[in-house]
Subunit: 419 residues, 2 copies
């Protein structure tokens, strides 16, 4: 089987190297040899350390008729979508790691890939075979809930903050110098990357309508040492979670930092590792853990897809051989969780009463409260609240009101609690 | 697709109920309806709570030509092997949860199932799709090591012993009353069940020769509160592990209780849950966690196999479409690990010197040593050692010598340390 790789970067180079290094094993498993015959790059002058022909002329590769499977590793959304569509229209199988393209065009791609194999295991949680587990391994089940640590960069930063009481900006710089974060970290630390992955998983789990912009997405930039202090004090850890579940017949999807009890197994997932916990009706909870990124890990998933295709396996792209009703997304204001609230205030009489009044008037019921003794000479203090289950709309309203009190010194900060 | 279930017990009833309850979803995923049309039982008078025809005449079911897939849930080894062989010879697909049959006859079954789908996801770790992950998800990789908590009963008992300082016999009784342990718990607590599963996983990972009797298997019956005390003191937990790895070009398989550092993620797997950690060359470590037993969890895996077969997927039974060289097992005496040794002795001059002399003469190097102050009035004390990497043959020899010293009061007890 001849393979063309569109976009030979870190992952593409790993694909080529592993196909060559593990050729005996991969051939035995696939039943035939899988041979990378050509790769495309933008800059032919840059050394990729691979020993196959490279070209900067994608068209010439798309027009070859000796290619059995195309691997798309170019990145972006619309350009790869157009190229992948063109390939699928010719009934040629495609394997991709492109989560952004899938988050926007997953159903269009599903239609195009009706009779053509389309692999995307590498798009979520790197090398962990989570697409396969969810789409095939759990196929007897109604999925009820997915909770994932889906972004290694954010998890690396939060782990360091928890373990070393370091602050966000410093750890981000460290992550960048170690290659764990991009020069522009927006996609990773603002939750966008995780949102793409959550949409993909949810579409397999129960089919959801909606684009990444439609779901609640918050990043980790504003988490401070005070939040870390509180988390430790109350036996929580802080993780950037992707959460997807069924609420009143609708799909509730959200990506945000969350306080989770530190004795949950997903709380132990540290550094750049990813993990996805899935609750189903028959199986209950299962969890999948492994590296979320890296050339070799991602290539491992790409090649698993190639082997599946070589064996002639026919898995409908999103897991449904026949049409199945898709879920609507729940409106964000109707989401209910527990909340942690941090409010910096002037330390004087009546402040706590004013705040708790506002909360009670807006149906926010306090579960716990912490105020540390003031440091000598300081005139302000920080109040920490956790709430019982509350409506997103109500907590937002409360935060707006608090912000306008003259004794509230900063914008109040909130983290959702996931139990 | 018409399904016959040979042996309708707990798992079989769950299969029928889930197929009926999730019919819409399962049909959409499989592309066709999967209908349980008949089940066999030994005793027709016992109510199974299922609404399909049951018979005690297996022959009549095997002779029907309207059955598309047979599910074997009878248990045992030779009888189901003979029946499954008969079905496979007729080129009818089989799905089984029978790990004992697979542990003894996996390669014979592989030969019989060359052109016929044969699913056995349910045979290892209940509902966790670990066969699929290892056989398909990690197919690009050379597997280097598998470490699994593969028996929920033993894990339940050890978890209780660690958490409550309870003793083996009491927790076993509790587990039996809760339905977590059988009246005869031998298979579970003596490591035999885990050994069957470890052989199955290893055969997929790299193909191993050998029967369950050929591998090192130790159970958990002799673990005492003193061992629990030591584990806690040195930040270990005790788990019954199945370990499989490549050592000098041979396969090293062993099942035994092990001391593992309590901050490892697999150390957090408590109660009846299972987990399998897999190290590979491209992906490094990934881990799979979930319920190891139970009717619905196991049925979830059985039905996933049915859906795969309905979709026309063609996965070679043990993952190899072409022949691939199998590994020989390493001789047990050549296995190297670190060890923990507990020796009860008379508390008098020269005892420690004698023991450490024997150890050094047999190339056992001590890593740590603990002796607690003797309780008032007692004339004996317990010595706790851990060793550096040592040969199994040497530690066995040392234990034999120690046992014969007149100042050694009990048979010394050893637990392997897994780092």
């Amino acid at each position: 089987m001849n393979i063309a790789i569109l976009g030979v970067g870190t992952v593409g180079s790993s694909v080529i190297k592993i196909l060559q290094k593990n050729k005996d094993l991969i051939s035995a498993r696939a039943g035939k040899e899988i041979i990378p015959v050509v790769g495309t790059v933008r800059d032919l002058n840059k050394d990729r350390g691979v020993n196959i022909p490279l070209t900067d002329d994608i068209k010439s590769v798309l027009n070859r008729d000796d290619i059995d499977i195309y691997i798309e590793l170019m990145g972006g959304v619309e350009k790869p979508f157009s190229i992948v569509s063109e390939i699928l229209k010719k009934k040629k199988p495609v394997v991709t790691a492109n989560k952004a393209m899938l988050a926007y065009h997953r159903y269009a791609l599903q239609n195009l890939a009706k009779d053509t194999p389309f692999g995307f295991e590498a798009s979520v949680a790197g090398g962990i075979p989570i697409i396969k587990a969810l789409r095939e391994g759990l196929s007897a089940n109604r999925v009820e809930k997915i909770v994932g640590i889906l972004n290694g960069t954010s998890n690396y930063i939060l782990t360091d903050m928890m373990q070393n009481n370091s602050n966000f900006e410093d750890v981000l710089k460290k992550a960048q110098s170690l290659g764990y974060a991009e020069a522009d970290p927006t996609f990773d630390v603002d939750g966008i990357d995780a949102a793409h992955k959550l949409l993909i998983l949810s579409s397999i789990a129960y089919g959801v309508h909606g684009d990444p912009e439609d779901i609640l997405v918050k990043g980790i930039r504003k988490i401070s040492n005070e939040d870390i202090f509180f988390a430790k004090e109350f036996d929580y850890t802080i993780k950037l979670l992707g959460i997807s579940k069924i609420t009143d017949g609708k799909a509730e999807l959200r990506v945000h930092p969350a306080l989770i009890n530190k004795d949950r197994i997903i709380a132990e997932v540290d550094g750049v590792m990813n993990a996805v916990s899935i609750n189903c009706d028959a199986l209950n909870e299962s969890m999948y853990y492994g590296p979320g990124a890296g050339g070799d890990a991602t290539a491992s998933a790409v090649i698993a897809d190639l082997i599946d295709i070589a064996k002639g396996n026919k898995n409908p792209m999103l897991g449904y051989a026949q049409n199945f009703k898709k879920m609507e997304l729940i409106e964000q204001k109707n989401i209910q969780t527990k909340y942690y609230l941090r409010v910096k205030v002037e330390d004087r009489t009546g402040v706590l009463a004013s705040i708790t009044n506002v909360m009670s008037q807006n149906n926010i019921s306090i579960d716990s409260f912490l105020q540390k003794p003031r440091n000598k000479g300081e005139k302000h203090t920080t109040l920490y609240f956790t709430t019982h289950l509350s409506l997103e709309a109500n907590i937002k309203r409360v935060m707006g009101i608090l912000e306008n009190f003259e004794f509230v010194l900063n914008r109040p900060f909130m983290i959702r609690i996931e139990e």
